[in-house]
Symmetry: C2
Subunit: 341 residues, 2 copies
DNA sequence: ACATGTTGTGGAAGCGTTTCCATGGGGTAG
DNA sequence: CTACCCCATGGAAACGCTTCCACAACATGT
């Protein structure tokens, strides 16, 4: 028994009594094959339990049937949900998904340099990582389709991209607090991680300022604190902000995780939410529902889905105009916001 | 400019004025190359910005430099954290990770059939999905190393596996409640999803029964409810259980997500936790810390890390004895458990 | 009758690597 | 000085597929 020797198209060809080219044509649904021959080949395929060698096919065709996702901190809920959308759409089209997790700037640079290679993957989805001009130039040369998700950077204009209007989201969150009657509204955001240049935070902050300015509310620098992403840090920042002589009656956190930290700080200080303090988050990750956190929902899963759609479309038709798909944001009011006392 | 033509080793060879074999040897750190030639080749590599073609290498060597992870519902925290361990360890060794998410039985079967193919991946990690005897036979024939994580099934004995002692974990959680003085202890678990045969739930329940039996506490069937995984369902189950004439003073939920549902139900009913009701979860996913949920910690990240270690070791030495690595569980006492009133 | 398609087919060439074998030059030991 | 061996090297073969070209057989139009 040659149980260990995987059959090749040559084996199929011999068994079916046809030539190599014919087998290949059958396997690729080329119409130039007679019904009879097709049946013989398919029979042999079944008999020998043939499975094509993807490396060989890839080498010959210059296609790999796999796409890469380059994402930072892929364990954070935001990315997990986007990934979910990507995975679901991708697996439906028979492509494999290879994940490149970026947890350091060097890794991003390495992946940006080596992954977008037509001999490695058929397409790349980049999430939340703005490229430099050099990166962009390289991507364009590489001939691999690249789609950006959540990257506002104008350098990306030559590529398909799925963007989120974070300014608007920040504005909505803040406006909601203003509408409730708040005037002393704090903002807690994540400091752009060294070298990553995430833009979401800044945009949300811009929305915050816009809303305040629109209502003629003074922007007080002591009401703005940034810290490394994470609950613990946000908790400390909130402690600090809530310890101010004239403390805010509401805090908008630039993401739900930091909003949790704010809630924790409020709990520490014995402040009632929303009685003494209103809190708004951003992203609407799964557990905000449990906590009753008022937040700004962005269509995370959908953003993943659409990025794959865009990528596959471009693989089909490389020459179309780059599309820019803007996803809506929506305010979800729950139990952590109320008029100030 | 031939900007679009990726250089091959042939180009390198010409530019460096050496032969193809020599280039290949340099690239593969073969010691049989003089320092001078090596330098010339490396120079050419840099000049031409050469990147090896992985498909070609894979075809030639029968290796792909990528490993597959087959996991159910990869967006659930438990899997995300295991994946994190896998990703981190894998990327450090230069392998790619391809994710196959199983959200339906058919997908599991399809992946089990097609993924473990030596021409597709160098190794496979299967998480929480017990194989059938047929699957096992196929895996063994396929010659691709397979490592199981969180699969207790005895059929997996021929393979490396990382197991978690869920019986012990369930026992510890329950014993903790008993030690606090509880006698009426409920159990809420997830019903084995049709066809998936997850075993963790049953094991944890077995531990629960053991602990009760060990303390001579009667096992009351009305204190045992199973439902589909998820917060909402668990919340309903908890409602039902807490509506019993003689309601439990403590509930052990088979996983943290369901424990959240229990907490929600307690909140709905105005029960104080831990005053009126103690709650214990399982897994110690990230947010349990925030909620102060007492739970059983299993080393999720570590399980991922070790599965990769095991896999790479087996790729190196295919003939070693299958290892069975058992990870410890640990009770983390927080704020949701206390003696009964 | 012949030129002209059309259809199905076989097989060689080529994709970019690694690996194996052959070769030549230099060193070392006799 | 010879015999031997080792080291560095070049290049052919092989990996399994797709694709292109050539060709045979037959149909069609004049």
């Amino acid at each position: 028994m040659f149980a260990h020797m995987r059959p090749t198209i040559k084996d199929i060809a011999e068994r079916a009594g046809v030539g190599l080219g014919t087998v290949s044509r059958v396997l690729n649904d080329n119409p130039r094959v007679s019904e009879m021959t097709r049946a013989k080949v398919m029979g042999a395929v079944r008999d020998l339990n043939y499975v094509p060698n993807l490396a060989a096919r890839g080498l010959s065709m210059g296609k790999t049937q796999s796409i890469a996702v380059i994402a930072p901190f892929f364990t954070r809920s935001v990315f997990v949900e986007r990934l979910h959308g990507i995975e679901e759409t991708t697996s439906a089209s028979g492509y494999d998904v290879v994940i490149y997790n970026v947890d350091a700037v060097e890794k991003r640079d390495r992946y940006f340099r080596t992954v977008p290679d037509p001999r490695r993957v058929d397409g790349v989805i980049v999430i939340s990582l703005p490229p430099t001009a050099t990166d962009v130039a390289r991507f364009q040369r590489s001939s691999v389709p690249v789609v950006f998700v959540d990257v506002g950077n104008p350098l990306c204009q030559p590529f398909d991209r799925i963007v989120i209007n974070d300014v608007e989201g920040g504005r909505m969150a803040t406006q909601h607090l203003i509408d409730l009657g708040h005037r002393r509204i704090g903002y807690i955001g994540d400091v752009p991680q060294a070298g990553f240049n995430f833009t979401a935070g800044e945009d949300r902050f811009a929305g915050y300022r816009e809303a305040l300015a629109g209502s003629g509310i003074e922007i007080r620098p002591e009401y703005h604190l940034d810290g490394r992403f994470g609950r613990e840090v946000a908790r400390e920042l909130a402690h600090r902000m809530l310890g101010l002589p004239e403390r805010p009656t509401a805090i908008f956190a630039s993401n739900d995780t930091q909003a949790l930290g704010v809630l924790e700080a409020a709990r520490d200080l014995g402040l009632d939410v929303p009685g003494d303090l209103s809190v708004v988050g951003y992203d609407d990750i799964e557990m905000t529902d449990f906590l009753g956190l008022t937040t700004v929902r962005q269509l995370l899963f959908e953003s993943g889905r659409r990025s794959v759609d865009a990528l596959l479309r471009r693989i089909e038709e490389p020459e179309r105009e780059p599309l820019c798909d803007s996803l809506p944001v929506e305010l979800i009011v729950r139990r952590t916001t109320a008029p100030p006392r």
